[in-house]
Subunit: 356 residues, 2 copies
């Protein structure tokens, strides 16, 4: 591994009590180039621009995928990653579907740990605080041919993070737009999936909603995801969530919620979630909660569903009554080293793991 | 418009009889930045890299779309564009669906004509020769938030072009993978649509095919597109092509073929093209031709269809018998100023249209 530390670090000007999420970047980044059929040297370098012409295939043909993950700092200053091997596996599932060469897990993990270790002072400590980490893979060959690229970049960049959403949100159940096709790339964290969701989301916002519950493109009768999150529904005391498929992301937070719910002996059904069943439950008052989960937001609780022209309110549960709030606390307590970790999910980031 | 000509042009080393399509770039490119809610100065600059970090939203969230078009040089050295206003309109349809700000048509056309004029010496003359031009729009803000970007780049880059495919190709009728969802972005030249097609195409190639005829994702009973082209079928002497929709690109070559077919009083049906009808026609020997059309390839003639596990051969028609070959010649004769242009499709690129 090649380490080139910044000669002009910005950390001294970083105020962990006041920063902008998403565009405050830590001092370094990880890069590794793929060329001539193989991955080159893993490098830690100062965060900054790399030269690409507008013929770069990544922006022409969308051959690009990413991961989202976080590092947490506990009260003693120890730093932990959360189930990082899941992200290493998933970026390669995405890569395979997009015909991008897989990044070896060792390169992914070494780059990740080195970056987080060297820039550990950028990780804020406290309620909802973390370092949001973005590994990504994208095509860098400069060529105007709609074919698989011969050059790629693996990179990891990161930004300090606070809680994403504060208030409960209203979500519209999609009756026209969709985010994934049968035989498509919905299960992958493919760059193009996100761009495709923006315009329908803008329309939903104009209608007074915050985001969209995506439904299947053929019938709009089944829940798929919500915004950029997996979706959970609670009817009476049973939790329902769609099973993963080629259309639905295999979310790390989703999987963790399922395991935490089982540990609490909650009844969980993983399978088809029918729009009509959810609406019927709202009408007969057995629908207790609907929420989204994802790395960035952890949990987003919904206060209303838009269904055709109706605005259907959901119950306001207390922190004690809410399964969503309870499971979120179970999860974040493990992530932030405030609870035992019987699952072995936390991964300590050792100090000075790199050779200088 | 700001013109900054290359101080180190490469044109003297360009050999129009021997070059590599797609990665031989002309000396200049057009760029125009969008920021603070508006498009800035249109600029012609030397082709080359621009600095982006891996947090650039275009490669993270796929907010990117493009056009493909060509300039042709006639025997007298005059240079023509072909229906460029169609591309200016379509890039904005793509942009709208991807929540990218539209590029004003005047900026698009001025940039296009200036670039082609200044680099006209790069345009090869001769059978199948042209300059392939790539206008594109992509998100350039550096931020790790899955939301609409606030900064964009409009760019035009170009590469000299020869004929794309030489030989007839075999195509597999997709029975699992698909390129577009109902309520999705299939009609747009969205970057992500192309990446999503690569892996299924690789699998088809492993089965001995060259590309895929995409079918609807719900039933796989209807033709949509073929590879990156619109698809035409001829049964007896009637031409069929799918109607455009939110799943099917409104191709300029497709539209031109339809108008040329009508001029020749050929019977044309624009509507659903059922896989089962095409297969039945192949079996009863009324299926005469199946071909794809697009700017890059103009026409790609198919010699065989893969359907489930069958390899169904198509007739080998002579140039005189083939509607595809006839319409291709009609089109390229107009494009290259070898025939009258009753449609008003050719647009002359004047010399010295720019102010220095």
């Amino acid at each position: 591994m090649i380490i080139q530390k910044s000669s002009n670090p910005r950390i001294s000007s970083f105020d962990p009590t006041s920063f902008s999420f998403g565009n405050t970047f830590i001092d370094h980044m990880i890069i590794c180039e793929y060329n001539n059929g193989k991955w080159g040297d893993l490098q830690l370098v100062p965060y900054g621009p790399i030269g690409f012409t507008p013929a770069m295939m990544g922006v022409n043909y969308g051959q690009a995928c990413f991961e989202g993950m976080k590092a947490y700092k506990d009260k003693d200053g120890k730093v932990f990653l959360f189930r990082p091997e899941k992200n290493a596996e998933r970026i390669n599932k995405s890569a395979k579907r997009l015909a991008i060469p897989e990044i070896p897990k060792e390169i992914f993990m070494e780059g990740l740990k080195t970056l987080v270790d060297i820039d550990r002072d950028w990780i804020p400590h406290g309620e909802g605080m973390s370092l949001y980490i973005r590994p990504l893979l994208f095509a860098t060959e400069e060529a105007l041919k709609a074919r698989v690229s011969e050059k790629y970049l693996f990179a990891i960049v990161a930004t300090p993070a606070k809680s994403y959403y504060a208030a409960p949100v209203s979500v519209k159940i999609s009756d026209h737009y969709s985010r994934s096709a049968n035989g498509g790339v919905g299960f992958a964290k493919a760059a193009g999936n996100y761009a495709a969701s923006f315009y329908p989301t803008q329309l939903a916002i104009e209608e007074g909603y915050d985001q969209i519950i995506w439904t299947d493109d053929s019938t709009h009768e089944y829940f798929e995801e919500s915004g950029t999150m997996n979706v959970f529904v609670r009817i009476n005391d049973t939790i329902y969530t769609p099973k993963t498929s080629e259309k639905i992301l295999d979310g790390v937070t989703r999987d963790s919620f399922l395991q935490l719910a089982k540990r609490r002996n909650l009844e969980v059904v993983v399978g088809d979630v029918k729009v009509s069943d959810v609406i019927a439950a709202q009408r007969n008052e057995t629908l207790k909660e609907v929420w989204g989960v994802g790395t960035a937001v952890v949990t987003s609780i919904f206060e209303a569903l838009g269904y055709n022209d109706e605005h259907l309110l959901l119950p306001k549960l207390s922190e004690e009554e809410s399964f969503a709030a309870m499971l979120k606390k179970d999860l974040t307590d493990i992530q932030t080293n405030q609870a035992e970790d019987p699952f072995g999910w936390r991964v300590l980031v050792e100090e000075q793991v790199y050779d200088l």
